[in-house]
Symmetry: C2
Subunit: 209 residues, 2 copies
């Protein structure tokens, strides 16, 4: 009995995001269910848009720099969230500071609870209007995904801070310039919540080759 | 016999674009058919992104200013065009100079052949790889929509040049910051080829109220 010529791994799409991203919130609301329907696993990849935007010459979100674009984004995300039955409110200030949430996300990713964490934090921020830079919010989110608040301390090691910076660097190297970004197992990049279905179909096609 | 309380006009979506826009090309390839399916008429609104981008501090297309975004756009439009069976090639140089084509588009809009003109010029530029700043290209396009090449001269009057500048100004006033933009009869703005179906549905709902 010989092994099959190729043994495909589980089809997996990586979901790259910054917790401040409104469009990544839309994706977080539906990526689990859509991945299950498509037979594609989701792997979360927290990153920081700050350094990526800085490299493009922006000191803050382009939605703040370009007011017409910012006003449209709020309207567009509100319309889409409403049509899908998702709550949505803009954080104040925008963008929210998701640094510690992203650091915790690195640990969550490594330990296999990345998607649950991602969903919970996005929900707290954009559906419940909570401040995700506050320790109390993060502790509540940790509790609701069955994790101890010790994770906050573990997330603040130099090693973990470095890991998040390196992941952000990898994002830039893979061509990511905004969020959400979706990358298939053959390295194909898709940008934006609009491209979620297309990215899942690409991954499914690639993984069946 | 009394007249009905309200007499709704034909549902109409306005399609705002610059002939240099790759995503507006994707929309031009399908808006006629999708509008017919939805029972919504399409009214073309040529505009110039140059002044709109200048107001945002950009001297050229953001796809040229931000290389990662530009590289992604080419890949994304190619993927989408391929999936829909549309040819696509990038103009060189990009963005193409569509000034005269847009001026002719103002006349076409006023005379009722706006959509045919729009489709033909986008096809020449992005499917056939022709230079839409060349008179020969514009004359061929005019011939294929059953118009005389005299329209080129008529498009170059001070009055018509002013009309295009004013239309661009109206675009900015209505919140447009990129192309394609779609505006419903109640003034709702949708940005991007991705939003075409949503905009048609919005217009249909509004016009049946």
């Amino acid at each position: 009995m010989t092994a099959p010529a190729t043994l495909n791994a589980q089809p997996t799409l990586t979901f790259w995001f910054d917790f401040a991203s409104t469009y990544a919130y839309l994706t977080a609301c539906r990526i689990r269910a859509m991945g299950e329907t498509a037979g594609v696993s989701i792997a979360t990849r927290p990153m920081l848009l700050g350094p990526i935007f800085n490299a493009q010459g922006w000191a803050t979100s382009p939605f703040n720099i370009y007011p017409a674009k910012g006003a449209y984004m709020v309207r567009d995300v509100t319309r889409t969230a409403t049509a899908r039955g998702n709550a949505f409110q803009m954080p104040d200030p925008f963008p929210a500071n998701g640094l510690v949430a992203a650091r915790i996300g690195m640990i969550a990713e490594a330990e296999g609870w990345g998607l649950a964490w991602t969903e919970r934090v996005f929900q707290a921020e954009f559906a419940e209007g909570r401040d995700i830079s506050e320790l109390a919010t993060l502790e509540d989110c940790l509790a609701s995904v069955g994790q101890s608040s010790d994770v906050v301390l573990r997330s603040q090691t130099d090693q973990n801070k470095l890991a998040l910076r390196q992941q952000t660097q990898r994002a830039a190297e893979r061509g990511i310039f905004g969020a959400p970004a979706l990358i298939t197992s053959d390295g194909e990049l898709f940008w934006g919540d609009d491209r979620l279905q297309q990215a899942l179909e690409w991954e499914r096609a690639v993984s069946h080759n």
